[in-house]
């Protein structure tokens, strides 16, 4: 296959809210990233993969919430996520939803920052009982952010890492592969999302007044 876009460069950013080292959330995220990379490779694209462990930014995220601005280190991470051509987001499921740390990060990403970004949702939990959390918790969040979420989300319970889960039809390996192929396909066809820069290109004052609103998001 040939790359339909002139440049084969794509950035694939993985956001993991796993807490343990190693964490099963990170393990799942890495598997998804590797599978996505493989599918992109089949399309002639060699993505730059960046993994962000939210644990490393937990303090900065809390401070951002309290002070209203990010540290330079956190800003760099937010910029990487907002500038990504594809996203894999993975959270452990705590008390029936994504973790607080996971939400904290997406609370400080600017509105529209993920609009149009191909995004794969992933979650981990102790048992399969919370597998729908991807669809009732993560999916609405990313729908609100206008991310282009791929159809297949991947939930991995502790059991899924056992041999039986891997080997069986519809097992974890197959789900990872299906989701990754969907994300790769979305990344291949999507042009790099152009973000507005209100500082580089301000709305002229009279246009804003005529529109009856200075708010471009209306």
């Amino acid at each position: 296959m040939t790359d339909p876009l002139p440049s084969p460069a794509r950035s694939l950013v993985v956001v993991s809210a796993g807490l343990g080292v190693p964490s099963s959330t990170r393990l799942l995220a890495d598997r998804l990233a590797a599978a996505t990379e493989r599918h992109l490779g089949d399309a002639g694209i060699l993505p730059a993969v960046r993994v962000i462990e939210l644990r490393e930014h937990a303090q900065d995220l809390t401070n951002h919430l309290l002070t209203g601005f990010p540290t330079p280190k956190l800003q760099e991470v937010i910029d990487a996520v907002v500038g990504a051509d594809g996203l894999i987001v993975a959270s452990p499921i705590f008390n029936a939803s994504y973790s607080g740390l996971f939400k904290l990060f997406f609370d400080v990403v600017e509105r529209d920052g993920l609009a149009g970004t191909p995004t794969l949702l992933a979650a981990t939990g102790g048992t399969a009982r919370h597998s729908l959390a991807i669809d009732y918790a993560l999916r609405p969040l990313f729908a609100y952010l206008n991310a282009a979420v791929v159809a297949t989300g991947v939930y991995a319970a502790a059991d899924d890492w056992g041999t039986a889960g891997v080997a069986a039809d519809g097992g974890l390996v197959e789900r990872i592969d299906r989701a990754a192929s969907e994300l790769a396909a979305a990344m291949v066809v999507s042009a790099r999302v152009q973000r507005e820069d209100p500082f580089a290109d301000p709305v002229p004052f009279e246009d804003a007044v005529r529109a009856g609103s200075g708010d471009r998001s209306n």
Binding site: T62, T67, V203, F205
Partner: protein, 371 residues
């Protein structure tokens, strides 16, 4: 260049004693600070405007009128006047009245206010923040420049044949600064009118402040008011000083750790690194403040926040004395070095300029707005 202080008027318990001042004590403390500011040679006192506890400054022109009667040369300003929830007609009248009482020593800084519930208390909606700022100021601008105004907008009742009284002193409207921390729309508005732009500065990292000011300067030039480096820029700053910098940090830390705006968040040291907050010796304050010029270029007004988070009045008065004696004279001297001659001072009323033996800098009535 102008130097002064701005107060948010918070009534905050002193975390080292647990005692909060009464509203009366806080109001009188703000007046005492304004009088001291003039005594120690500062140029500007600016009052915040708030309509909810724990703040007391709901009526800035009342306070500033009182201060005007007790001062001779201090410029009275605001930080900020709420252009969204105040009726622009009342702003036009109140600040013109203050001009007459204060012999022209008046300007004001407009801001939107970020407290959601305040808007409905005044019949407005915070989602209209920017449109309100645009429409209300459009009307205010005309009320000070046209004797009889016919006006119709979307967010206020129409006016037919309306004259705001008193007219601005000698026909010169108060100079207006537009303050915004994060909205490029407001930098654009300030540039469009050729007004001043003030960045509060104290809560944000330098690169953000730089982007806001650069946008304002570029658009100021675009709208034909003059070269970008002649645009009128003001900055906030936040300081606490002792001769020994470690003593300053020791004394200020409990106020920082419990301050409503950043308590529970980053450490004092991290916050100092990431924002313009400077806790240390007067020399450290001088060095840091001089560094602002590297970020925004030669600018016109520097206001310091020194009286928040429960700091007791005697301590704040000491801070003012240090500013007046040890810091501002050096800043005046150092900022003048290398400042191009074509960079203007902040506009003041012609009477203020005359009283200082300067050429008037404020534009007369028909100051240009792009057609």
């Amino acid at each position: 260049m102008q130097f002064g202080i701005f107060s948010v008027s918070d009534v905050t318990p002193d975390p080292t004693t647990g005692r909060a001042p009464s509203e009366e004590e806080r109001i009188q403390a703000m007046v005492a600070l304004a009088l001291k500011a003039e005594e120690v040679g500062l140029d500007v006192f600016a009052s915040g405007e708030h309509h909810n506890p724990p703040f007391v400054a709901s009526s800035p022109t009342t306070m500033l009128g009182y201060i005007a009667a007790k001062t001779k040369r201090l410029i009275l300003s605001t930080a900020t006047t709420l252009i969204t929830t105040n009726d622009p007609v009342k702003i036009a009248e109140d600040y013109a009245m203050l001009q007459h009482l204060a012999d022209g020593r008046v300007d004001l800084m407009l801001g939107r206010g970020n407290t959601g519930p305040v808007y409905p208390w005044f019949g407005q909606d915070i989602r209209n923040g920017i449109p309100l700022a645009y429409e209300h100021y459009g009307l205010l601008h005309r009320l000070w420049r046209e004797d009889v105004v016919d006006w119709e907008g979307k967010l206020r009742t129409p006016l037919t044949g309306f004259t705001a009284v008193p007219r601005p002193l000698d026909g010169v409207p108060p100079f207006v600064w537009h303050g915004s921390i994060r909205s490029p729309e407001i930098a654009e508005q300030a540039a469009y009118y050729g007004d001043g732009f003030f960045h509060n500065n104290i809560f944000w990292p330098a690169d953000h402040v730089k982007r806001m000011v650069e946008l304002y300067r570029r658009r100021y030039e675009h709208y034909g008011h003059g070269a970008a480096d002649t645009a009128i820029v003001g900055l906030g700053g936040q300081v606490f000083m002792r001769e020994d910098s470690q003593a300053a940090i020791r004394e200020f830390r409990p106020y920082f750790d419990h301050a409503p705006v950043y308590g529970g968040g980053p450490s004092l040291e991290d916050y100092m690194e990431q924002t313009p907050l400077t806790v240390g010796s007067p020399q450290q304050v001088i060095d840091r403040t001089l560094g602002f010029r590297d970020i925004v270029g030669d600018y016109q007004r520097q206001l310091f926040l020194i009286d928040h988070a429960g700091l007791p009045l005697p301590v704040v008065l000491e801070q003012l004395e240090m500013l007046g004696e040890l810091v501002v004279p050096v800043l005046r001297r150092e900022f003048a070095i290398g400042r191009p001659a074509h960079v203007p001072d902040a506009p003041v009323h012609p009477r203020v300029a005359a009283s200082r033996g300067e050429a008037p800098t404020a534009a007369p009535v028909a100051d240009a707005v792009p057609a």
